[in-house]
Symmetry: C2
Subunit: 239 residues, 2 copies
């Protein structure tokens, strides 16, 4: 049995303002919980319907009923485990040689996939505009598959950040130079825009290089999904 | 007002067996409905809460109440429009120079994204194993953004299909040759595997070339999302 006030608190963490207020976020799914526990992120509490299934040495697990879990889970079909962790303190320093910048990405699944891509391609710093979806949103965490523990995510004012950088700033546009003909340097910043509107006008002015992923043939697809475009660009950066 | 039996029929189309039985599938979202109406796919009926919002010349639109739409929609927040279309007849011929093959992809969002990628990269034929998620699943259609009208999707027995082909068969594996060092031909078949298990043993035996997308650094990410990997491979094919 979990006390009511605690259930209420955990459920409230589905909202960004409550996550900020309490400095906590929720992770669901056995495998991802195990990955986060084994990272530098500090554990608050773990709840499990059947605690024997978790392989976590020296970690206390609280029992929860299926009914209670259903009440607090953000999933339609909760899968038996829920972990509550402390949001890590923000790192001010950005160290990557290549930095990915997101300007207003809204879809949690896209952000989750992009964090996973950063992890795969060794991009340790991801800078997000303040209107990008929160990285501790439950749907983002579901899509990251634990990669969130290995990528530093910074929410910054992009105008100030890009004005201050000495790195070359690349942006992806419909009318840029084809990526197939561009030679990318060893260090830089790659900006990806919002799903519908692309990169904002303010940020466009701060991009020194405009890139495009060429479409094949003359079909009418409007645009690549932002996560698919990021996959291709990070692959090109690391080639 | 829509009659009850019709509401029941449309709701049933969320299930694959009912889609097959009736030869119909459902599309939600104004923009996608417009795209499908303007394609070769045959329209059955369109329902709209406010029919004035649709730009469809000479197409009859049936009025539906918000309550009725909520009953039959597969979305948590239906957006005012629902179209019912006839599943196109299967094309037996496969014409693309490059053909993408999916071996057991399960996630509807991944299949939707992959169909959209095929459209962008001019891959007109997508061959799916029979256990791949159905392309008329509502969540797949939501992710395709209308690309479904421009990609021929075939559900085949992969063993027979790959045994019969004269094209070179490439598969993506964890232990293949890095894609950065591979020169791809003008024609071929690219096989992508299931999200968790990769390519099945039977199909692995039929792949003549094993490819890998190299990971950067020595981090512990397990794998690229199958849609992200597909984005990178199709980009490489078309370069």
């Amino acid at each position: 049995m979990v006390v009511k006030s605690e259930l209420k608190l955990i459920k409230s963490l589905q909202q960004k303002k409550c996550r900020i207020e309490h400095g906590l976020f929720v992770v669901e799914g056995k495998k991802t919980i195990e990955e986060v526990v084994n990272s530098t992120i500090k554990l608050h509490k773990i709840f499990a319907v059947d605690s024997n299934g978790l392989v976590l040495k020296g970690v206390k697990v609280d029992k929860i009923t299926t009914k209670e879990l259903n009440q607090i889970s953000s999933l339609k079909n909760p899968n038996g485990y829920l972990g509550v962790f402390y949001i890590p303190e923000k790192l001010d320093q950005i160290y990557s040689n290549w930095i990915l910048v997101l300007d207003g990405v809204q879809d949690p699944g896209n952000l989750g996939t992009i964090i996973r891509l950063c992890d795969w391609f060794g991009i340790t710093d991801l800078v997000c505009s303040k209107d990008t979806v929160d990285c501790y949103n439950p749907k983002v965490l579901q899509a990251t598959m634990g990669s969130i523990t290995r990528v530093n995510i910074h929410y910054l004012d992009l105008e100030s950040y890009l004005n201050a950088t000495k790195l070359p700033v690349y942006g992806t546009f419909m009318d840029g130079v084809t990526i197939n003909k561009s030679k990318l340097p060893d260090k830089g910043i790659m900006v990806m825009g919002n799903e519908g509107k692309g990169i904002s006008d303010t940020v466009t002015k701060l991009c020194s290089y405009k890139l495009t992923i060429p479409q094949f043939g003359g079909v009418t697809t409007e645009s690549l999904n932002v996560a698919s475009a990021t996959a291709i660009l990070l692959h090109e950066i690391r080639k």
